[in-house]
Each structure stands twice: as C-alpha cells, then as structure tokens.
C-alpha cells in the first residue's frame, strides 16, 4: 500500500510488522517519533508487544538485552549521545550474541551540542560487533527492518543489527512509501527461535567471565560470525528483493563504475543527491560513477575493490571524523584497495552537524577532482574561514 508518510512512521510500521515482543527506548531527537509511533500503536492495541519506557538509553539497551536473553524479539532506537550512552551495553550484547535490532537516527555528538545530522554517532560503535547498514531513503529504511531481524537472528550470525537512517533528512521527511503487508513480512521473517535462552526448564549461564585460556576464542568467534553475515545478508537481500520486488543492490551499489575515471562514494541520504549529480555529468559525457556503500559492517571490501578497479580517482564524502586519523570510510576504502589498485583518494568531509550540502557543492567537488584541479588528500568542504577558539 503506497502512502505518503514520514520516516518515523515508515520505520515504526515495519517494526510492528516484525512482531517484536519487547520494545524499549528513551526519547532523543531526532529518534523520538519512531518510538512515539510505536507507543501509539501499543496504546491502540495494534501492537502485541510489551512497550517499556526507560529512564535512560543505558537502561533501554539493558532492558532489551535482558529481554533478548530471555528469548524475546526486541527493538530499540536512539541517536547521538543516546547511542554513546548505550555503548557499553551494546558491546556486551554483541559479546553475548544477542540479535537486538535497533535504528539509529544519525546525529552529530556534543560538544558543541548539535541535534542535526552526520554519521559521528554510529561510527563510535563500529568496533562493537554490530552489523550496520545505512538506508538511502525511507522506502529502503522500511524494507530493511524485516531484513535486519532475519539476518541478526540467523543461527549463522547472531549479532546485534543497527539500521542507520539520517536524522531529520529521513526521519522527518515525508516520502511516498510502499508499505509492506503483514502477510509479506510473515512469509519472509519466521518467529524468533533462539539457540540459547534463559529458561528454568533448561538452565544456562550467560555472560560468564572468561579467563585468558578462553576469552580470545569468544572474540574471534564474533569475527567469524561477522564474516558469515556477509553471505547471509546476500541471501536475504536476494530473497527479500524477489518477494517485495525492490532491489537496492547488495552491500554496495556500483553505478556507472565500469568505465568511470572518478568514482564518488557516499552512504545514507546523501547518495540520492550524489547520484543525481553523477547522472547529469554522465549526460555531459563525463566518465564519473557512484559507489553507494549500504553495508558498513561487515565492511564489503571485495565489492569496493571490484567497483573501484578501473577508477583513477576516488572521492569519499565523509560525514564524520576520526580525529587524529583519516575519516572512517576513507580508512576502510584505503584498506580495501591496499595491494590492488591505488587511485587518488580524495577524502571530502562534508555536512557535519547538519551543515547544508547544496547540490552545487557536490557538482564543484566532483568537477574539480575530474578536471584535476585539486590534490588528493583530506579536506573540509563548506567550512567557513574561522579563527580557532576554545569554546
């Protein structure tokens, strides 16, 4: 059923269709309305789940951790500081191999306080052992929720799953969305059947401590699970696109990359704008391409390498920083290319803290690189001249 809805609703409705047992979250902009929509569904008796309001994101994450350990399908959502506050619990949940599904409405982090969008928040948990995908638009966000459960709960995986959606840009945006039906979701997503759960019938101990003879194997096992997740996700992408008839590509979506001299890389809602610019430049006969990175963890290094094998120049539009090093996606791309091709790498930090990203800026960046007017390296696009001050 096609309806014009906001991102919050598209996400909340998909969560409802996945039949979660326990939902728990704490309000934070720009996430709040996702769980408000779920709260309303609960209040109206349209959602057969326990809906719990927590006293903090730390508690929300802990509550869904406990519920998941007891065998429930769970959901939570957060942004920014909230995700940072959850961090300790998320590492713990991943270590316990609990398939918690959550949405992060991406937002910058303090200080200075900013409620607007970039990707700094989700990057803070990139090493936690959590699968991470970025949705380009609200239709994709809607469709990826059942997929997230399917993958996270797969016995070959059993890891938490974060679906990243750009705060405000997607969450607050009205878009036409083809809403899934219960029948379709049920046909794709079976009820959750945990491998291990807390039960008095068959008592187990979870979260034990592991001395040096044991610890390392647990961590390496997570790495193996993340490697397997890549394949499991591909199966799920294929199955889901056959059922719903929408194909977003696999872990990446390489467009016009075969003969491109310059490939622009982006994640999330920025992809749409970059695609638009690339299409226009193609019409002008310029050999440019787009690489949309959809899966950030596990990072699809092979696909990135394959997509960039003919490119002389690569532009990575970065929405976060790793202060003191290259920005996160740049690090990943460089690592993926090491030992194969070595194109010019332009790491373009853009739109931090919700700074507007005008179309002309994308055109300018790609054109300058295409025409060889700028040197490779890291730079900050759209930054005003400023004097450094300590706030």
């Amino acid at each position: 059923m096609r309806r014009v809805v906001r991102g919050f609703y598209a996400i909340a409705e998909a969560v409802r269709l996945c039949r979660p047992n326990v939902i728990c979250a704490y309000p934070i902009t720009p996430q709040t309305e996702i769980v408000e929509n779920l709260a309303e569904m609960y209040a109206n008796g349209e959602l057969d789940a326990e809906y719990i309001t927590a006293e903090s994101e730390f508690a929300a994450a802990s509550i869904v951790l406990g519920a998941s350990a007891a065998g429930a399908r769970v959901f939570t959502a957060t942004s920014s500081q909230g995700l940072l506050l959850m961090t300790e619990v998320l590492f713990n949940a991943a270590g316990m191999r609990l398939p918690i599904v959550m949405v992060v409405a991406n937002r910058s982090v303090s200080a200075p306080l900013s409620i607007w969008n970039d990707h700094q928040d989700s990057m803070t948990v990139r090493d936690a052992g959590i699968i991470q995908m970025h949705a380009e638009n609200n239709q994709e966000a809607h469709d990826l929720i059942p997929l997230a459960y399917k993958v996270a709960e797969d016995k070959r995986v059993l890891l938490p799953f974060i679906l990243n959606v750009d705060g405000f840009k997607l969450t607050h945006a009205y878009e036409p969305v083809d809403l899934l039906s219960q029948e379709v979701v049920d046909s794709f997503l079976p009820p959750y059947d945990p491998v291990v759960k807390l039960s008095t019938e068959k008592p187990v101990a979870m979260g034990c401590y592991a001395p040096p003879p044991y610890y390392m194997e647990f961590r390496v096992a997570m790495e193996y699970a993340m490697e397997r997740a890549k394949k499991v996700m591909e199966e799920a992408f294929k199955e889901w696109s056959e059922i719903i008839g929408r194909d977003y590509g696999s872990h990446v979506s390489a467009e016009h990359c075969e003969d491109a001299e310059v490939v622009a890389i982006a994640m999330g809602s920025l992809v749409g704008l970059v695609r638009d610019v690339v299409e226009e430049m193609r019409k002008e006969g310029k050999k440019v391409g787009l690489l949309k990175i959809r899966t950030f963890r596990p990072f699809p290094a092979e696909e990135v390498r394959e997509a960039l094998k003919n490119a002389n120049k690569v532009i990575i539009f970065e929405r976060s920083l790793s202060i003191g090093s290259d920005p996160p996606v740049t690090l990943e791309v460089k690592s993926a290319l090491f030992g194969s091709s070595s194109p010019e790498i332009h790491s373009v930090v853009i739109g931090l803290g919700g700074r507007d990203i005008p179309r002309e800026q994308i055109v300018k960046v790609i054109s300058e690189v295409y025409e060889g007017k700028v040197k490779p390296g890291k730079r900050y696009e759209g930054v005003k001249e400023f004097e450094e001050v300590i706030p």
Partner: protein, 292 residues
C-alpha cells in the same frame, strides 16, 4: 546440581553465599538470576565452571535492575511468567552507587522482580574500596586511616528508606546472621506482584578483618546493637521488626572487626564511635526494636 554450588570460589566464611542459598531455597529454584559484576559473579560464573543450577545472567556492573526488567517483560510477553521469579543479586556498590539509577528506574516502573542487595559495605571484589554503603569510620583502601582522616567520612546511604519511598509493594532488611528470617521474607516478598527489595547485611571476612568462623556472630552483633535493624514494609507501611532481646553496645560490634580497630586509638575515633552509637540508638527508637 543444587541451586548454587558446589564449587563456588567464595572465601571460607563469606557472607553472601548464605543469602544466595537461602533465597534460592525459599523459591525452590524457580528463579531467573541476574547478577552484576562483583564478588558473587566472579566466584560463581567462570566459563566452564558455572555453579548455578538456575538460569543465570551476568551483564554489566551497573545494569542488573534494567536487565531484570527486560527479562521480566520478555516472560510476560511470551506468557512464561509461571516459569519463575526474576531475582537480582547485587552488591552494595552495584546497588547504591553505579547501578542506583537503574534500581530507581525498575522500581519506578514497578517491574515484577525481587531485588536482593547483599551489603558487605564496600567494593570487596576489587579489594575493599569505600561505597555509599560503607559505614562511617570504616577503614577502606580509598578511605585509609591517617593523621588527617579517620576512615570513611559521611553516612551510610539508607537504601531501605529509598526503596520504600519508591512506593513499591514490599521492602525488607535481612541479615545472613538469620537465614530463616531471610527465607520467610523472600516467601512473603514473592506473594506481591511488582518490585520487591530485600537488603541483606552480609559480612566480608577479608574486607572487615574477621575470622571466617565469625561471620554469623558478627552479622548478629550488627542487629543486636541496633546498627542494622531488621524491618519489613508492605505497601510503604512498617509491618514487622525483629526485636532485640538484649541491646549490646556498638563497641562490641566494632571491636570484633579490623576495619574499625583504629577508632579506639585515633584522636577522632571516639567521636565516630559516639556517632555510630547515636545511629544505633536512633534506629532502636525509630523502629521500636527493644523487646518490652
């Protein structure tokens, strides 16, 4: 396998295994145990050497109450409430310090959980550092005794009153000196739907500087002096107290433990002993503890 052990690694004479066994026996093993980081977790949950005969989860230091709330919600959602009670065993640091917010949140939402705080009055797992439940004057590694400082300065946080103030249906204090009383309180607690809190005084042989054989005796002295009143609240109302047959001076309790020994020599010591005696006397008056 029993509900707890054999094979746990607690020190000989440790207080909290008495509490854990009493609680699980009272519940006949129908319990989902949540346990934050601490002594109990370390002595019981090593990988491959788990000693729990009931479902058990250790998550983090500060989130036992929230994890318990999540388990309880899941059991409700999955129609599995009949399987057992959700029970937290947490130390004083996890309860009154780092996990305090989560305890308050779970009580505020009145989750159907039984929260047991075993109070050994310091961070004993990391070697006896002061917590909010360390009593005034106690020597710990972070409140050492020196010229300037006579041990811990400040009060012992009143967790029982704080729990009562949340309006939860059942709150009690108990002691490993009286395990049958604890068992009775556990059985009474689970008759109530909602959050239940039992604060259990549990000596630590190393941190307190007592002999393993003295655990029960020292625990009982805390009760007999009035320093540790055993009380019971139902829906906010004081319903029962354990009467003191013969009131003992706090000095008798303090002298039995190495952590208070300096009070009898330090220039500030006398004042602290008097303060502790005043606290005991006030408890006796407040709860009408003396047998008539």
């Amino acid at each position: 396998m029993s509900y707890f052990g054999p094979g746990h690694g607690a020190c000989p004479g440790c207080g909290f295994p008495i509490a854990v066994k009493a609680v699980l026996e009272a519940l006949e093993g129908k319990a989902f145990v949540v346990n934050p980081t601490g002594c109990l977790e370390i002595v019981s949950s090593m990988y491959n050497r788990n000693v729990w005969g009931v479902p058990y989860i250790h998550s983090l230091f500060e989130n036992a109450a929230a994890v318990a709330a999540g388990i309880e919600a899941a059991l409700r959602a999955l129609n599995r409430k009949h399987e057992g009670h959700v029970v937290v065993f947490a130390g004083d640091g996890a309860t009154a310090d780092i996990g305090f917010g989560m305890v308050s949140g779970a009580f505020d939402r009145n989750h159907d959980i039984l929260y047991i705080c075993y109070d050994n009055e310091a961070y004993q797992n990391t070697g006896n550092q002061q917590s909010a439940l360390t009593p005034p004057g106690a020597r710990t590694t972070t409140t050492p005794v020196g010229k300037r400082q006579p041990g811990k300065i400040g009060k012992k946080k009143d967790m029982v009153s704080i729990a009562v103030a949340h309006g939860i249906p059942y709150v009690a204090s108990a002691s490993v000196g009286y395990p049958n009383d604890l068992k009775r309180k556990v059985k009474r607690a689970v008759e109530f739907e909602g959050a239940k809190y039992i604060h259990v005084h549990a000596p630590c042989v190393t941190g307190w500087g007592i002999d393993g054989k003295q655990t029960v005796e020292v625990a009982r002295l805390a009760v007999e002096t009035g320093l540790y009143p055993l009380v019971e609240f139902e829906h906010g109302k004081l319903v029962r107290v354990m009467k003191i047959k013969e009131k003992k001076p706090v000095e008798e309790y303090l002298k039995a433990q190495r952590r208070f020994r300096h009070l009898f020599k330090h220039p500030e010591g006398r004042k602290i002993i008097e303060e502790l005696q005043r606290i005991a006397d006030e408890n006796i008056k407040r709860y009408n503890l003396l047998q008539q």
